[in-house]
Symmetry: C2
Amino acid sequence: MAVLELCADDQYLVASGDTPLLEVWDSLPQGLYPPFPPVELPGGVGGLLARGGFGQNFFFAAEVLGLEFRTPKGRVLRAGGKVVKNVQGYDLVRPFVGSFGTLGEVLRATLRLRPGRERVFVRKTGRLEGLRLEPRFVWQEGETLYAFTFGHPKEVAAFEQAFGGERLGGSLDYRPLFPGGMGVGEGPVRDLRMSWADGGKPPPMPKTFEALVEAL
Amino acid sequence: MAVLELCADDQYLVASGDTPLLEVWDSLPQGLYPPFPPVELPGGVGGLLARGGFGQNFFFAAEVLGLEFRTPKGRVLRAGGKVVKNVQGYDLVRPFVGSFGTLGEVLRATLRLRPGRERVFVRKTGRLEGLRLEPRFVWQEGETLYAFTFGHPKEVAAFEQAFGGERLGGSLDYRPLFPGGMGVGEGPVRDLRMSWADGGKPPPMPKTFEALVEAL
């Protein structure tokens, strides 16, 4: 549906699971950034959380402050809160993130926003292997390397100079690359965690996780 | 028992749950830091993980890369891995961290180590309220504020100058403050998450977490 709540002061937003990622981007005031790059992906916010994020070079699950989700058995569960300080334990948010839908579907999510005075979106011919820079987001599509980062203007400028390549304006839409759904496998796009394939499968589930799936 | 494995290249260590925190510190080469300050606390590494860390000003659970734990029903479960990149989903590590023993006891844990060329341990009269600095660790004991941070020498020096106070050498032992165990409640020590009390209780468990406790 849409972004349901935006709190610039406390740096979070609440969005329904089916909110397109670029709709989140469009809703943000200048200087605040969500935990994903300006790239539309299958399934919007809910799909992104199920897959454990995209392109990030940080611990994505920490940026998901709270969740409401419907389990495969139809129960509606709430976990986490709206403030970073609320991360006090009994954490059902983090196992949901990256569980590829096995724990259910996101109804709404509270995402942390981070401030940055400058931003840059760049691409060049290249591969993830051997990359020695640390942009907030980086991924490879074919033989092209994409990076998006934000922060202090000096840091962003230093990154852009070191990375090289050409600046991109606006955003990308990768949904046409995944008409059969976005999963793990040999595919057109890779990030630091996964290779993403059209119609790809979830990665195999560890036996110990099955008990959690059963319980919820 | 002890630190079981230390890998400086990949920046992690494996310790048994009963390893005292200062024993971890003693095992580290110069320039690598664990996700806790040089303060001994009840229960060693296992106790620290059950309580969700101490004094940190970052998302503690992200620094726990892997776990082996024995559930209340006696099952031994393994979760996570040894490398940051292994955080790919199906996450049973994060719900364990900060679950106050309800999911069982730590047998061994893999902790991320972070590099820093300089470090400083300082204290001054003060309170957590209104602190505008961002050391890696900060806590309040009585009316004294303690901070420990590490990183680039310039950043560490800038922090020390802004914080003021006096330098501490070595380490602290807070175990005598908690003869009845360390839990949540009005007590002698506070950090950014909790007030820690002698004989304190775990915080109340959300209903949705009970299903997980039952399942494991």
